[in-house]
């Protein structure tokens, strides 16, 4: 769909709501389905590619009410089946339809601790919205009820209105729990364990908490303020956060239990080990891993060139290798850092791209050039060892491989080059080995992921793990789901020990 300015969307919504509102409570399913899906207002693509501000502006009140009225409140609620943490979707959506945003937020918070985050970054179209009856009836997944955008609306409203509320906390139990990492898995564990009255300390390697939500996902998709508000909430609950603390180096995992007396430890260290292509030229000047590129930009704020001490190359032509969310974030960041041309190179077709559909669309709107069925063969440098071009091969899709996706096969002799001065490799992350290397007792599988049972217990007594360090690079909501299970098991262990 072509870009529509926010004012226009709002005028349309106001007009429609006036029409629908008088009969809001007695709308027939047919009438609900006749309400047009509400487009979320966004910054103009031509403008936003030069700034770091959030792209999506969020529904206005009128839009949110209309969108929520599209929900049929299906008895079997197939959308809930699609949600990894089983949010009561018709419940919170009808609260919005009725104008009760606080109740909507409360329903959300029963299952998801970070609705403002999830509403922004969950792959809704392949989770809840994929199963939505409205989308099915209209034979278009994209016309399903915009559950994610409504989630964001309710969460933002609540934060703006009464951001101060913190959950009740049980009296002090005298037990203490250490949580390693401060990403979504760890945040969930911290809140759930603290609520039971246990002392909680979070240990973070970086100088700022928040995990990938802070250093990876860019500001234009998930503003740091939102993550920081959640972290602040944890602090107000009495959770202690120690930054600059690398478990495995500053202190061994075992010592946390044996020397420091923690009753339980949760490992939520994520999947922070960048993969490279192992092709010629990969160590030339101007080749970044997506982790480095995004960390320089987001965590170290290199995009504020005149204030930040951490530099980033002033690239003009950038190639990004990969097709996931990370690749989209890198490609879109490149424009915001001043690039004139951004080439995204992916070896399968757009259909197989693991990135969220919305982010692929955003990247295209902003002018990222998509090269599908192509892959880098080698990176070429000039006499100073700086990137000057990338040589690619064309591909076609063959038989399905282990992942069920059709295998890309290189077409021999199809080499061609694109002139670039920077290459960002975004082909995935493996688990960080720092803790497992210094903790031989901890069982990991052959990809370095920590092995856990169905309660997220590891092979080590009192040690639990969850999130990307267990799942491999996954999603925010799955990490939170794991955190929730681990927290339940930790709370049960501490209760049993009395």
């Amino acid at each position: 769909m072509s870009y529509q300015p926010p004012e226009k969307l709002q005028q349309e919504a106001e007009r429609l709501l006036k029409e629908v509102n008088p009969r809001a409570s007695e709308l027939k399913p047919k009438e609900r389905m006749a309400i047009p899906p509400q487009t979320i207002p966004e910054q103009d693509p031509a403008v936003r590619r030069h700034n770091m501000n959030e792209v999506a502006l969020g529904y206005t009140e009128e839009q949110a009410r209309l969108e929520a009225m599209r929900c049929l409140k299906c008895k079997n609620a197939p959308c809930i089946e699609g949600c990894p943490v089983r949010i009561d979707i018709p419940g919170f959506v009808s609260a919005i339809a009725e104008g009760d945003d606080d109740r909507a937020a409360q329903i959300l918070k029963r299952n998801s601790l970070l609705p403002a985050v999830c509403g922004r970054v969950c792959p809704q179209e392949t989770q809840c919205q994929e199963h939505c009856t409205v989308g099915k009836a209209l034979k278009d997944r994209d016309q399903a009820v915009a559950i994610g955008k409504l989630e964001r609306f309710a969460a933002d409203r609540e934060r703006e209105h009464n951001g101060g509320a913190i959950p009740g906390i049980q009296p002090d139990t005298g037990k203490k729990v250490a949580i390693i990492g401060t990403g979504p898995a760890s945040i969930t564990v911290a809140a759930d364990v603290r609520r039971e009255g246990h002392a909680v300390t979070m240990l973070e390697a970086f100088h700022k908490p928040g995990g990938v939500m802070i250093y990876g996902i860019p500001e234009f998709r998930l503003p740091n303020d939102i993550v920081e508000a959640e972290i602040e909430g944890l602090r107000r609950m009495g959770v202690e956060i120690k930054t600059n603390f690398v478990v495995g180096r500053t202190r061994k995992l075992k010592d946390l239990i044996e020397k420091d007396g923690y009753d339980a430890v949760f490992v939520g260290t994520g999947a922070g080990l960048p993969r490279f292509m192992n092709i010629e030229g990969e160590n030339l000047v101007g080749v970044y891993s997506a982790n480095e590129y995004l960390t320089r930009s987001n965590l170290m704020r290199a995009y504020e060139r005149d204030r930040a001490d951490t530099p980033i190359l002033e690239s003009k032509q950038v190639a990004v290798l990969g097709g996931g969310n990370v690749a989209m974030d890198a490609a879109r960041s490149a424009f915001r850092l001043g690039a004139e041309e951004v080439h995204l190179i992916y070896r399968r077709t757009e259909k197989e791209m693991p990135a969220r559909v919305e982010e692929v669309a955003h990247a295209k709107e902003e002018g990222v050039e998509f090269h599908v069925l192509q892959n880098a063969k080698r990176i070429l440098g000039d006499e100073h060892g700086r990137v000057k071009a990338i040589e690619c091969l064309r591909y076609e899709l063959g038989e399905p491989d282990d992942s069920g996706r059709r295998r890309p096969v290189a077409i021999e002799g199809s080499e061609f080059t694109i002139d670039v001065d920077t290459v960002v490799v975004a082909i995935g992350n493996s688990s960080n080995p720092l803790i497992s290397q210094t903790t031989p007792e901890l069982k990991v599988n052959r990809w370095g992921n920590i092995e856990v049972d169905e309660d997220n217990r590891s092979s080590m007594d009192r040690v639990y793990a969850g999130g990307d360090i267990v799942l491999g690079a996954a999603t925010v909501i799955l990490a939170m789901g794991e955190g929730r299970r681990a927290a339940e098991a930790i709370n049960a262990q501490l209760r049993d020990e009395g």
Binding site: L284, Y288, M300
Partner: protein, 289 residues
């Protein structure tokens, strides 16, 4: 927050600082480093070797050269001030054992990271020769400290203003020619110096350890920015190193990568000097008025 306990200037633009960091002091081993950052929002994360530690005082010692914006800002701190972020100890500790005879070569500021390693090699029973070199007498650091632990100390300067007039590779070659030849060489200093030291020991087949100072961000294996090619393979200096077999390192690539931000940094360094000069002027004006 880590308080600066003491600070002294060792040479032109070289400072020694004792910083409160009890956990790091307890865990650190020779060869390891920390990453320091001053301003949590806008500061750069810079790696510095832990030159020494005092577990009673709960402090670590850093020796650094003010080469650019961030080290400049660090140099401006005074005892009582705090460094906002200090993380470590990072990197693999040096492999220390009694090899027999060891020669340690330090170039310029490289003497700082070399010192704890030399100290540990001596304690492990090695016969220890230390060679330290600098551009001139003013830039020589840790000479007395090295003399106190080495069986033999060779000092040289590029311009002959102190000790022998030579590059460190010259005495290194002579030591390699001795009988018995050294069982181990450790060379730490500017990348070119390490490259030539490795080149010097190669024909004598003296195993040579170098400590690489690539550009880093996280120091925990997450960003890949510190990568180098060693024996044809990509390795991460922060987690696989910082020490590697000097005969296997692709120094030319490493030197190129170190220059990635050169144009940007040169501007900033100059800016720092100008600002400092302006401030000094201001200060002397205030004092005289």
């Amino acid at each position: 927050m880590n308080k600066v306990i003491a600070k002294e200037q060792l040479a032109e633009e070289v400072y020694r600082m004792r910083v409160h960091a009890p956990l790091i002091a307890e865990e650190r081993r020779p060869g390891q480093f920390v990453i320091v950052q001053q301003d949590t929002d806008y500061g750069e994360r810079i790696p510095l070797t832990i030159a020494d530690a005092d577990t009673d005082e709960g402090s670590i010692t850093l020796i650094f050269q003010s080469v650019g914006k961030s080290t400049h800002k660090l140099a401006e701190l005074e005892p009582g001030d705090a460094i906002n972020n200090v993380v470590g100890p990072l990197g693999k500790p040096t492999h220390i054992e009694n090899f027999g005879t060891a020669v340690c070569v330090g170039g310029g500021i490289g003497a700082a990271p070399l010192y704890p390693i030399a100290q540990a090699l001596k304690e492990a029973g090695n016969h220890l020769t230390v060679i330290i070199g600098a551009r001139n007498a003013e830039l020589m650091i840790l000479e007395d400290e090295m003399r106190a632990i080495a069986d033999e100390l060779i000092v040289c300067t590029d311009d002959g203003s102190h000790g022998r007039k030579a590059l460190v590779t010259e005495p290194l070659k002579e030591v390699c020619e001795r009988d018995p030849r050294p069982d181990l060489a450790v060379a730490i200093g500017p990348p070119v110096m390490m490259k030539f030291c490795a080149g010097t020991t190669r024909p004598y087949e003296v195993p040579t350890v170098v400590s690489l100072n690539t550009i880093m961000i996280d120091g925990t294996g997450m960003c890949g920015g510190c990568r180098v090619t060693v024996g044809g393979e990509t390795r991460f200096v922060c987690v696989d190193g910082p020490e590697f077999d000097g005969h296997q390192v692709d120094f030319d690539n490493m030197i190129q990568r170190l220059g990635t931000y050169k144009p940007l940094e040169d501007d900033e360094h100059e800016q720092c000097h100008l600002e400092m000069a302006a401030r000094d002027k201001e200060q002397s004006r205030n004092e005289s008025s």
